[in-house]
Amino acid sequence: MTVTANTEDRPAGTAAVPAIGRLLSGFVATLPERGRALAHTTVPPLVALALLVGVWQFLCTLPGAALPPPTKVVADTWELIANPFFDHGGTDKGLFWHLAASLQRVAVGFALAAVGGVLLGVLIGQSSLAYRGLDPIFQVLRTVPPLAWLPISLAAFRNADPSAIFVIFITAVWPIILNTAVGIRQIPQDYRNVARVIRLSGPEYFFKIMLPATVPYMFTGLRIGIGLSWLAIIAAEMLIGGVGIGFFIWDAWNSSLMSEIILALVYVGVVGFILDRLIGLIAARVSGPRGRA
C-alpha cells in the first residue's frame, strides 16, 4: 500500500488559473462519489455505536441498575474529559498523564521485547539445533499468564517500574520470537540458492535476504505483541500502583467511582486500537505489497 504522490504537473504563471479551475471542477464532480465512499465506511459503525449507547442508556436507567448510564458517566467525569492535563502532584493527575506513564512503560518493555524477540527468533529459525533445544521451553513459558510473572519480577527487581516493564517484555516477546522463527524457516530454498550462487556473506545474507523475506512475519508477531503488552500493563499497574491508567482504574474502584472506570476503559480501548493500527501501518510501509505472499 504505497502512497502515490500527486504527480499532476501544474503549468506555471497565468496558465495555472484555468488549470486550477479544471482541477476544482474535477474535484467537485467527484464529490458525490467521495461522499458515498465516506458514508460507506463511517455510517455503519456510527449507527452501531449509537444503538449500543442507546441500549446501555436504557438498561442503566432501569430502577435498580448497578452501573451508571452514559449520560451520567459524561456528567460525572466532565472534569476529567475536559481537562486531561492537570497535575495536582502524587497520583492526582489528568488522564493524559496516566496514559502517558502507561505508554512509556509499554514503549520500553515492547522495544526490549522487539529486539530480544527478533534476535531469538532468528536464532531458532536459523539453527535447527537451537530450535529443538529452545522451542519446547518457549512453548511452555509462553502459556504463563503475564501477571504470574509479576511476583517473581517484583522479587527480582525490588522496584515497581522495572517489574512492570519486565512483565511487558515477557508478555510480548513470545509471539515475536515464534513468528520471526516461522518467517525464517519459510524462506524459500530458491532465495537461499540465489544467495549461495552469488556468494553473499553471512551479514549480507541477513540484511539482503533474510530480513526482507521475514519482515511480514516479524510484524505479525510485533502486532500481536503490542496488543498483549497493552493488556498486561493495565493489569500490572493495578497491582503495583503509581501513576498509570491501570492504577487509575484500581483507584477509582476503591473510591467507588464507576463513571471514572468506564471513562478509563474507553480510553484504554482507543489507545490499544491506535497502537495496533500504528504497528499495522508501519508494517504496511516497510513490507508493502512487495512482501512475500
Binding site: Y191, R196, V197, I198, R199, L200, S287
Partner: protein
C-alpha cells in the same frame, strides 16, 4: 582437456533406512561455447546433475572439473537460471540484477561501470523498458528474462539452466528460446540446459544428452545436432536433419526408456 568435465559422477542419498543411488557413472565432456541439453523423464536425476555442476549439491563419488579447477561449492562462475525465476520480490528488476553485479564485480568495476553493466544485461534480454518494476508487476516470461539477465551479468564460465521455460506458455517459450539463441550467438556462452521438451532441445542444442530412468540413472546416449546456426524455427520444421534428430530423441524417450509411470 575439456572445458567442463564430469568424471564418474555419482550421487547417493541417504534416507533413514536405505541408501538410494540417484546417479551413477555420469561422464561428460563439454567444450567452451557449447550448448548442451540434458533431457530425460522426470525423476531421472537431470536436475541433480545440474545442481552438482552448480555446486548446490556435492556428488558422493567422482568429481566435476571446470576450466581445470574442481567444483565443490556454488559460485557466480556457474550462474544458475532457476525454473521459477527466483527473483527477490522486494527488489526491482534492476536491483535484482544489480545485487548480483555488485556482489560479483564489487571490486573489479566502478559504481558507474556496474550500473552500465546491469543495464547492458537487461537490454540483452529486452527488459530495459521495465527496470523500475517489481517482479509481481511483470509477466512470467519477463521474470524469466530477468532471471537470465541476472545469470548472464555474472559472466559465468558456464550458464546452467534448470528447465528455464518449463513454466511458460508455448508462445512465450518460443520468444524466450529465440532470445536465448540470439544471446548465445552474440556471447558464445557455454550452456547446460535441463529440459523435457524435445523440440526445445533440438532447436537450441549442439548436443543432447539423454538420460536413462532412475534409480542409478546415467547417460544413455548423446546425440549431436548438426544443424547450422543461426537456426530459424520456421525453416527447421521441414528440415530432414531436424526431423531426424527429433525422431531420435523421441525414440530414446518413448521406446527404449519408457517411464514406468507413463505406461
Amino acid at each position: 582437456m575439456a572445458y567442463l568435465s564430469l568424471e564418474n559422477v555419482g550421487m547417493e542419498f541417504k534416507t533413514s533406512k536405505a541408501r538410494f543411488t540417484a546417479l551413477q557413472d555420469v561422464n561428460l565432456k563439454i567444450e567452451r561455447g557449447e550448448f548442451l541439453s540434458i533431457i530425460g523423464h522426470s525423476g531421472c536425476g537431470k536436475s541433480t546433475v545440474l545442481n552438482i555442476v552448480g555446486g548446490l549439491l556435492t556428488c558422493t563419488s567422482g568429481g566435476v572439473l571446470l576450466d581445470g579447477q574442481e567444483v565443490n561449492d556454488p559460485g557466480p562462475d556457474r550462474a544458475i537460471v532457476f525454473q521459477n525465476h527466483s527473483l527477490l520480490p522486494w527488489l526491482t528488476v534492476y536491483d535484482n540484477v544489480r545485487l548480483a553485479v555488485d556482489k560479483v564485480f564489487g571490486r573489479a568495476k566502478t559504481k558507474q561501470e556496474r550500473h552500465d553493466w546491469t543495464l547492458h544485461n537487461l537490454s540483452l534480454v529486452h527488459m530495459d523498458h521495465a527496470i523500475r518494476k517489481f517482479p509481481e508487476e511483470i509477466s512470467g516470461g519477463m521474470k524469466q528474462r530477468v532471471g537470465i539477465a541476472r545469470a548472464l551479468a555474472m559472466e559465468p564460465k558456464v550458464l546452467l539452466m534448470d528447465e528455464p521455460f518449463g513454466a511458460l506458455d508455448a508462445l512465450t517459450r518460443a520468444h524466450l528460446q529465440d532470445s536465448l539463441m540470439e544471446i548465445h550467438t552474440t556471447l558464445g556462452n557455454t550452456v547446460i540446459m535441463i529440459t523435457h521438451d524435445v523440440d526445445e532441445a533440438v532447436l537450441l542444442s549442439d548436443r543432447i544428452v539423454m538420460m536413462t530412468n532412475g534409480p542409478a540413472a546415467t547417460i544413455g546416449e548423446i546425440l549431436s545436432v548438426p544443424l547450422p546456426r543461426p537456426r530459424r524455427r520456421l525453416e527447421l520444421t521441414e528440415d530432414p536433419t531436424y526431423t531426424h534428430c527429433r525422431g531420435e530423441v523421441i525414440r530414446f524417450l518413448y521406446e527404449r526408456h519408457r517411464h514406468a509411470d507413463a505406461a
